[in-house]
C-alpha cells in the first residue's frame, strides 16, 4: 500500500539556522506513528512544514502522490490534513460546540445566499452539523462542554475539545502535537483508545508528537526519533527501546 | 533647479515627518503598541508652546523645553495609567485606548482655543541662505539643524551607550529583560514618555511655521505612518529615511502635478507600499543584514 504522506529530503531553515535537515518520513492509513525526541529536535517544525505554516527550503512533501509543499495552510487542510497545536489552537471566546462546528466548516453545504435568507436547505445543513458536533463531543465524553466558553475550561478539557475539532471532518491525516499534556490519567487512557480506534476503524493516518513515553509505547505502531533537526532512528517500539543511537541521544541530553 | 528647490523644501518638511515617524516607531518597538493617537501628542506639543509663548509671554526656548518635558510626563502617564491597565481586555483595546486619548486631547485643545485657527508669531526671523541658486529658508535651516542634532543624539544613545543596549534588549525580549531584573513596566512608561516628547519636538518645530488648529494631529499621524511604511514598519532608520522621502515626494507631486494632490501623497504611499511591497523600500536590506 502506497504511503498517504511522503516526505523526501525535507530541509527547513530559520534565519540561516538549519531546523530540519534532510528528513524522510512517511505515514500510512491505519498506522499511528509517534515522533519523539528532545525539545528542539524539530518535531513541531516538521508538523508546521507538513501543514504549510513554515516553508521548506529543499525536498518535497506529498499527499496521495501530489505535492502539497508551497500551498497555503488552509489549502493543505482542505486536502485532508488536520492538526492540533502544542500551545492550544482553540477559539477562546467560542464554546466547545462552536469550536467543533468550525472544524466542520468545509463540510457544511450551505450557499452564501441560502445563509443570508435563512433558507430551509441552509438551516438543514447547519442543523445536521450541530447534531454531528454534539455526537462527536458525546463520543469523547465531553458533551457537558458544548455550551461552555473555551476560556473557562481547564487545560485538559481544552485539549480534548481540540482533538474532537481536529477529527470532526474525518481527515485522512491527523497530526497531534502533544495531545496528552494536562490530561488526567483516565482521560489519557481514553485518548489512547480514541487514537487507536480512529486509526483502526476509520483507517486514518496519525502522526503523534508526545513526550509521555508510556503513552507512546501504548499507542504507536511505529516510532520515529528526532534529534537536532534530523531523524536518527525509526522502527517498532520494541526495536526503538534498544536502539543505541536513541539511547545516546537521550542519555546525552539527560 | 526647480526640481532641486522642491527637493530642498521637501527635505525640511520631511525632517518633521521623520521625527514624528521615529517617535511613533520608538513606542511601537518598545511596547508593540501602535499609538493611533500619536498625532494628537504632536498637536499637544505645538499647543503648549503656543500657550506659553503667546499667552504666558515666555521666551520660545524656555517654552519649547517646558512643552517637551510636559509631553514626556503625559506620555508616561498614558502608558502607566491607561494602557497598562487594560492588558486583560480585548486585544483591540490598546488601539481604541490610544484613539480615545487622542480625541480627549483634541477636544481639550478645542475647548480652550475654540474653532478658529491660530497664527503664532515668527520665532526664527533671519534672512534665508543662498546655496548657489537654491534658497534655504530660515525655517528649513532651524529644522535641519534641530532634527539633525536630535537624530544623532537618539541613535548615539540607542546604539552606543549601555542604557541604549538595555533598551534594545527589552525590545527584543520582555521576558528575558524581566528575568535579569529590568522593570519592564517602568521601561514601557519611559519609552512612551520618550515617544511623546519626541513627537512634541516635532510639534514645537512646526508651531511657528503653520496655522495651529486642534485637528492638526490627524495629518501628522498619517504622514508618520506613511514614513514608517516606506521605511519598513518598525525600522528606526527606515522611519527617518521614509519621512525625508515622503517630504520630497509631496513637494514634487505638488510642483509637477497639482498642489491638490499633496495631501493624498501619503495615503497613496501607504496603500501602494503595503499592496506591492509590504516590507517597505528597504525591507530587503534589513533582511539581508540578519
Amino acid at each position: 500500500m502506497a504511503a498517504l504522506l511522503q516526505l523526501a529530503g525535507v530541509n527547513v531553515q530559520f534565519a540561516g539556522l538549519q531546523a530540519l535537515s534532510n528528513v524522510d518520513l512517511s505515514a500510512r492509513g491505519g498506522e499511528i506513528k509517534a515522533l519523539i525526541g528532545p525539545n528542539g529536535a524539530g518535531k513541531t517544525t516538521l508538523f508546521n512544514a507538513i501543514s504549510g505554516y513554515v516553508p521548506i527550503a529543499a525536498g518535497s512533501i506529498s499527499l496521495n502522490g501530489s505535492a502539497i509543499h508551497g500551498l497555503a495552510p488552509h489549502a493543505i487542510a482542505a486536502r485532508g490534513v488536520r492538526r492540533t497545536f502544542q500551545n492550544g489552537g482553540l477559539f477562546p471566546e467560542l464554546t466547545g460546540l462552536e469550536n467543533v462546528l468550525a472544524g466542520l466548516h468545509a463540510r457544511i453545504d450551505a450557499s452564501f445566499a441560502g445563509i443570508l435568507f435563512g433558507t430551509r436547505a441552509s438551516r438543514a445543513a447547519e442543523r445536521d452539523a450541530v447534531a454531528r458536533a454534539r455526537r462527536l463531543l458525546d463520543g469523547l465524553g465531553v458533551s457537558h462542554l458544548a455550551d461552555v466558553q473555551v476560556n473557562t475550561m481547564s487545560g485538559g478539557q481544552q485539549r480534548t475539545i481540540e482533538i474532537v475539532r481536529a477529527v470532526a471532518a474525518e481527515p485522512p491525516l491527523l497530526l497531534l502535537d502533544e495531545p496528552a499534556v494536562g490530561l488526567a490519567p483516565p482521560v489519557r487512557a481514553q485518548l489512547v483508545e480514541l487514537i487507536r480506534r480512529l486509526a483502526g476503524e476509520t483507517g486514518i493516518a496519525v502522526l503523534l508528537i508526545e513526550h509521555a513515553i508510556d503513552l507512546v509505547m501504548a499507542a504507536a505502531d511505529v516510532i520515529a526519533v528526532f534529534n537536532g533537526g534530523a531523524k536518527i532512528a525509526e522502527g517498532p517500539p520494541a526495536a526503538i527501546r534498544t536502539d543505541p543511537a536513541v539511547l545516546e541521544a537521550y542519555l546525552g541530553h539527560a | 533647479m526647480f526640481f532641486l528647490q522642491l527637493a530642498l523644501s521637501g527635505l525640511a518638511q520631511g525632517a518633521i515627518y521623520a521625527l514624528v515617524a521615529l517617535s511613533m516607531c520608538v513606542v511601537y518597538r518598545a511596547t508593540t503598541v501602535v499609538n493611533f493617537g500619536h498625532g494628537d501628542l504632536v498637536m499637544a506639543g505645538a499647543f503648549v508652546v503656543y500657550l506659553l509663548v503667546v499667552l504666558a509671554g515666555l521666551p520660545f526656548p524656555a517654552s519649547a523645553i517646558a512643552a517637551v518635558a510636559l509631553l514626556f510626563i503625559l506620555g508616561a502617564l498614558i502608558e502607566i495609567g491607561l494602557i497598562e491597565r487594560i492588558k486583560a481586555g480585548p486585544h483591540i483595546g490598546f488601539a481604541l485606548m490610544c484613539i480615545a486619548v487622542g480625541y480627549l486631547l483634541r477636544g481639550a485643545a478645542r475647548a480652550v482655543w475654540g474653532r478658529e485657527v491660530l497664527p503664532m508669531p515668527r520665532v526664527f526671523d533671519f534672512p534665508p541662505v543662498m546655496l548657489g541658486e537654491l534658497v534655504v529658508t530660515a525655517d528649513a535651516l532651524v529644522i535641519f539643524s534641530a532634527v539633525g542634532v536630535l537624530l544623532m543624539l537618539f541613535f548615539g544613545l540607542f546604539y552606543r551607550t549601555s542604557a541604549g543596549r538595555i533598551m534594545q534588549a527589552v525590545c527584543q525580549s520582555e521576558r528575558g529583560a524581566a528575568l535579569v531584573g529590568i522593570n519592564v513596566r517602568a521601561f514601557h512608561g519611559v519609552m512612551w514618555g520618550v515617544g511623546a516628547a519626541m513627537g512634541a519636538i516635532g510639534g514645537v518645530l512646526v508651531a511657528p511655521l503653520t496655522l495651529l488648529h486642534p485637528g492638526l494631529g490627524a495629518g501628522f499621524l498619517i504622514k508618520g505612518f506613511a514614513a514608517m511604511t516606506l521605511g519598513g514598519f518598525g525600522s528606526l532608520g527606515g522611519a527617518v529615511a521614509g519621512g525625508l522621502l515622503l517630504g520630497v515626494a509631496e513637494q514634487w507631486v505638488g510642483g509637477y502635478v497639482s498642489t491638490k494632490l499633496i495631501d493624498i501623497t501619503a495615503y497613496l504611499v501607504i496603500i501602494l507600499v503595503l499592496a506591492l511591497r509590504p516590507s517597505g523600500l528597504f525591507g530587503q536590506a534589513v533582511a539581508e543584514r540578519v
Binding site: 501543514s51 495552510p73 488552509h74 489549502a75 487542510a77 497545536f85 489552537g89 482553540l90 477559539f91 471566546e93 467560542l94 462546528l101 468550525a102 466548516h105 468545509a106 457544511i108 445563509i115 443570508l116 435563512g118 441552509s122 447547519e126 442543523r127 450541530v130 454534539r134 457537558h144 462542554l145 458544548a146 455550551d147 | 501602535v34 493611533f36 487594560i86 481586555g89 480585548p90 486585544h91 483591540i92 483595546g93 488601539a95 481604541l96 484613539i99 480615545a100 487622542g102 480625541y103 480627549l104 483634541r106 477636544g107 481639550a108 485643545a109 478645542r110 475647548a111 486642534p214 498619517i222 505612518f225 514598519f233 493624498i264 495615503y267 497613496l268 501607504i270 496603500i271 499592496a275 509590504p278
Partner: protein, 328 residues
C-alpha cells in the same frame, strides 16, 4: 461542572428569537407618542443601528481595527444622493447601489489582506483608504458638489413620498429589521463562525481549511454593504450630504457606539446606537466637549466594561448572549 443541557439552550434561543421580533413590533407604536423632533432622533437611531451593526462586523466580530467606516457611510450617502439628485432615481432604487458601493469600498479597503496584510498594517491601509475617499468627496465637485455637498429633496419609496418623519420611520424600520435579520443569519452560520474564529486565532482557523484572507475581505465587504445602506438612509433623513458629515468627528461616534454596545455583539450594536445617537446634539454649542465626552466615554468603558453593555445584559439574561450556530 454541569453545563447547560441542549434543552436549556433551545429554550434560550426561543426566547432570543422572540426578543428579536418583539423589538421592531413594539417600535411600530413609537410615532403615536413622538413629536417630529423626537421622531427624527428615532429615525437617526435606526440609521446608526445599521452603522454600528456594519462596523461591529469588522471591529468586534473580525477583531480588526479599521478607520474607513465613516468613508463607507459617506460613499453610501453620496451614491444615493448622486443617483437621486443628478439622475432623478427614486429612493428605493438608490438603496441597493448605495449598499453595493459601500461593499465595493469595503472590499477595496481590505483587499490587501489577500496578500497577507493584517492587524496594524491593515488598519493603517483602511485609514489611508478612508482619507482618500473623503478627499474625493471634497475634490470630486462635478459629482459630489464639493464642500457644499448635495441636496436630496424628494424621496420616493415605491410611490410613497417620504415627506414626514413618520413615513420615513416605517420605511427605515422595515429596512433595518430585514438587514439586522440577515446579519444575524450570517453570524449564526459557518460564515459568522469563520469570522470570529479568525479574531480568536487565525493560524488555527486556517488549519480547519478556512481561507482566512478571503473571509477577512468578506467581513469588510459585508460591513461596507450594511454601512453603505445606512448612508443612503442618512442622506434621505438629513436631506443634505456634505463631506464634513463623514470626518473624524463622526468616526469617534462610530467607535463609541460599537464599544459601548459591545464588541462583536449584534444585540450590543443596537444598544450602542440606542444609547448614544441623541447625545451629539447636546454638545453642539460647546466646542471640544463632544470630542472630550466621547474620548472619555471610550476610556471609561475600556477600563471598566470593555465588553460593553451587551455583556452586562448577557450576564443577567443568558438568552441575549451572541451565539454562532443555530439548531433549528
Amino acid at each position: 461542572m454541569n453545563g447547560q443541557t441542549p434543552q436549556h439552550a433551545l429554550a434560550h434561543r426561543a426566547l432570543g428569537t422572540r426578543v428579536f421580533y418583539a423589538a421592531p413590533l413594539l417600535a411600530l407604536v413609537i410615532p403615536l407618542f413622538a413629536n417630529p423632533y423626537t421622531q427624527f432622533i428615532v429615525n437617526l437611531t435606526l440609521v446608526y443601528v445599521l452603522v454600528t451593526v456594519g462596523f461591529n462586523l469588522v471591529l468586534g466580530n473580525l477583531g480588526q481595527l479599521a478607520f474607513a467606516n465613516t468613508a463607507l457611510f459617506g460613499i453610501g450617502a453620496y451614491t444615493a444622493a448622486i443617483l437621486m439628485a443628478h439622475a432623478g432615481w427614486p429612493f428605493w432604487a438608490a438603496i441597493p447601489p448605495a449598499g453595493a458601493a459601500g461593499a465595493a469600498a469595503g472590499f477595496l479597503a481590505s483587499v490587501t489582506a489577500l496578500r497577507g496584510i493584517r492587524n496594524y498594517y491593515l488598519a493603517i491601509v483602511t485609514l489611508a483608504f478612508g482619507e482618500l475617499l473623503r478627499w474625493s468627496y471634497i475634490h470630486g465637485e462635478a459629482l459630489s458638489g464639493g464642500t457644499d455637498g448635495l441636496t436630496v429633496r424628494h424621496a420616493d419609496f415605491f410611490g410613497i413620498a417620504l415627506e414626514s418623519e413618520t413615513a420615513r420611520f416605517y420605511v427605515f424600520l422595515l429596512i433595518v429589521t430585514v438587514i439586522v435579520k440577515a446579519v444575524s443569519n450570517l453570524m449564526r452560520s459557518k460564515i459568522g463562525r469563520a469570522i470570529v474564529a479568525i479574531r480568536d486565532n487565525e493560524l488555527a482557523t486556517a488549519s480547519l481549511a478556512i481561507p482566512t484572507g478571503r473571509y477577512i475581505v468578506l467581513a469588510f465587504t459585508l460591513s461596507g454593504f450594511v454601512v453603505g445602506i445606512a448612508g443612503s438612509l442618512f442622506a434621505v433623513l438629513i436631506g443634505q450630504v456634505i463631506p464634513e458629515s463623514f470626518g473624524l468627528i463622526e468616526l469617534i461616534l462610530h467607535f463609541a457606539m460599537v464599544l459601548v454596545g459591545g464588541l462583536g455583539s449584534l444585540f450590543g450594536s443596537v444598544l450602542g446606537a440606542l444609547a448614544l445617537t441623541a447625545l451629539p446634539e447636546f454638545f453642539r454649542p460647546f466646542p471640544g466637549l463632544y470630542e472630550m465626552f466621547f474620548g472619555g466615554l471610550l476610556i471609561v468603558f475600556l477600563l471598566i466594561q470593555p465588553r460593553g453593555l451587551s455583556a452586562l445584559c448577557a450576564k443577567r439574561w443568558p438568552a441575549l448572549r451572541d451565539r454562532y450556530y443555530r439548531e433549528r
